[in-house]
Symmetry: C2
Subunit: 361 residues, 2 copies
């Protein structure tokens, strides 16, 4: 078993090898395309057959993510397995890891799936600054926690939140009951409100040999809790975000690309908001910056290849195409200097990420 | 019928539409990847199921290129049809064009499939300089032709030549019989030898609205008759190659990307060597130059979209990975500033194009 693990740990995938990707959304799609460039084959595991990644991958297995047997069989057909979303069930991750190198590993999932575990890991184990937080399992806990953290604050479910889903801002004591009603009975975490100056993120990678490569700091603007633009390199980068990302990658013995989101104060202080153990929307600009893009970087790490360049040749601003934005595809295609990336989603819904554009700045 | 043709002529493919690609090699593969970026779906028609493009396309139809019925059925399932190689049989092209817009059209195939038709078109119809040439159908023709064109000269089959296949250099009269034996009974063309200073090419595109966009002149170096490197922008470009490419595109009422190869004399004079009605190996550098790459450009044209930028942000040199070159994939991956593109071919053969690398210069 020990030698099997060692083999897993060090396995390098030659061209022609198969990478399994748990999840078939746009991130899986762009990972599959990057893998094809390196002569690697992708096998997608998705809940639906007509997912965005299915159109560009060699093979698709349709199954539930908690179908441990199916995930195991899928992983046995792959030379390495990765994922495009952090909510892979723990038992499925364990099954995958027993059959093939799972990169990043299960520990990254454990930490990032649960906001309480994540904040504890970042603050207690790494000594990084995070927003004040309190464990909330009952409305009484919530009242006590609001007193400690002060108003305003944000109640969030510990699990399965994204794009502003699973969270409520509490601005007055009178809103406590309604906030709890909205999210209960899910285990929650109350977070102090961070009066940030701007939001920034770092996308960084770690290889199987421990090599770390970070892209430059990226400045993000959200609209309605959904990422609107990411611009890189961000002004005023003192390198501390990249250092923190490096610490996180080391501590998790991580292999692959990770996104780390920060709140930044006017004095430059960085508070870690959350980590995503996968390629990250704020790293899409890397596709048109002249360096190795984050999707290829992740595939390189997962395949055990050397990491690629992370220095852009010029600045880039990425703008997400949300919902009806995509209807302007023809206008965007006609716009000079605009690189379009569409995800092949046929159904347009409000708030749905349909594509993005990258523009040189 | 007239209105159907007009509909064909002007049809614009919205994201989610299906582009059929005749041919499943590396060009089809990179076209499929580019299409996916634009939210377009690809359906490959290939003689083999395990072709390079099959791994990244949504659907593959396996069939012979001269199976007119099968090509027709395939084309009926597509919103537009294109091809990655010039030897699509005329009847199959006609069948495809009856079912969907065929871009580029059948005329481009007619002209480029036959070296005699090609040279006649370029010289007689467009007045462009080509190497002296003579139609050769018999060893007697060949003797006469050698007298007219002088030695050395090159005997080529009119059809199906590529990468130096189907051609013999004749340096002495004593070699005439052997040259003929080697290629007979295929209809041939004898071409005068052009004592060129360098080989250059232009990749240019034309949209459904007649818009033309050319990439900068590219300088090519061949080894053993196979393209070794392409470097762009080439030094000393007076724009005449792009102008000639534009004339060719106009005259053929062409839609899509075309490659035009030239011999250049020391005084700058350009002789057209051949045209390729498809994306071209000497345009692979466009993938890592910051502009729209030739594969996306071709897909844009085929889909009836506006053409993209053709101005590189910096110089690039492309080097083909031929045969065993690909075994150094790990060394190449570790090399800074090197973008690797592998074609997913499992069998390595001498002279086989396995991939390429692009490097900023």
């Amino acid at each position: 078993m020990e030698s099997r693990l060692l083999d897993h740990r060090e396995r390098v995938l030659a061209p022609g090898s198969i990478i399994g990707i748990l999840g078939g959304g746009q991130l899986g799609r762009m990972l599959a395309v990057a893998a094809s460039r390196l002569g690697l084959i992708t096998h997608i595991y998705s809940e639906t057959a007509d997912c965005p990644a299915a159109l560009v991958a060699q093979q698709v297995t349709v199954g539930a993510f908690d179908d441990v047997e199916k995930v195991l069989a899928f992983s046995q057909s792959c030379d390495a397995v990765t994922y495009e979303f952090e909510n892979v069930p723990a038992l499925s991750a364990k099954a995958a890891a027993s059959a093939a190198p799972l990169r990043p590993g299960a520990r990254a999932l454990d930490v990032s799936q649960d906001r309480l575990a994540e904040k504890s890991f970042l603050s207690a184990q790494l000594g990084l600054r995070v927003a004040g937080f309190e464990d909330v399992n009952h409305v009484h806990d919530l009242r006590r926690a609001v007193k400690r953290l002060k108003l305003p604050c944000v109640l969030k479910t510990r699990r399965f939140g994204y794009d502003g889903k699973g969270q409520v801002i509490i601005r007055a004591e009178s809103e406590i009951d309604a906030a709890w009603e909205k999210l209960a009975p899910a285990p929650c975490i109350l977070e102090a409100f961070v009066p940030f100056f701007r939001e920034v993120s770092i996308v960084a990678a770690r290889g199987i040999d421990g090599q770390i490569a970070a892209y430059p700091l990226t400045e993000n603007v959200h609209r309605n809790h959904i990422l609107h633009t990411s611009q890189a390199p961000a002004q005023q980068d003192d390198g501390s975000a990249a250092r923190m990302a490096g610490q996180i990658l080391e501590q998790l013995d991580y292999v692959g690309v990770m996104g780390v989101e920060f709140f930044q104060m006017e004095d430059g202080t960085l508070t870690v908001n959350e980590i995503a153990p996968r390629v990250h929307n704020s790293g899409h600009w890397t596709q048109n910056a002249g360096c190795t893009d984050q999707f290829e970087q992740h595939i390189r790490a997962v395949a055990g290849w050397p990491l690629g360049d992370t220095s852009p040749l010029h600045g880039v601003v990425m703008t997400n195409l949300i919902g009806d934005d995509v209807k302007n595809w023809k206008g965007l295609a006609a716009q000079a200097g605009t690189h379009i990336h569409l995800y092949g989603k046929s159904e347009i819904r409000g708030g749905r990420k349909m594509g993005h554009i990258n523009q040189k700045i």
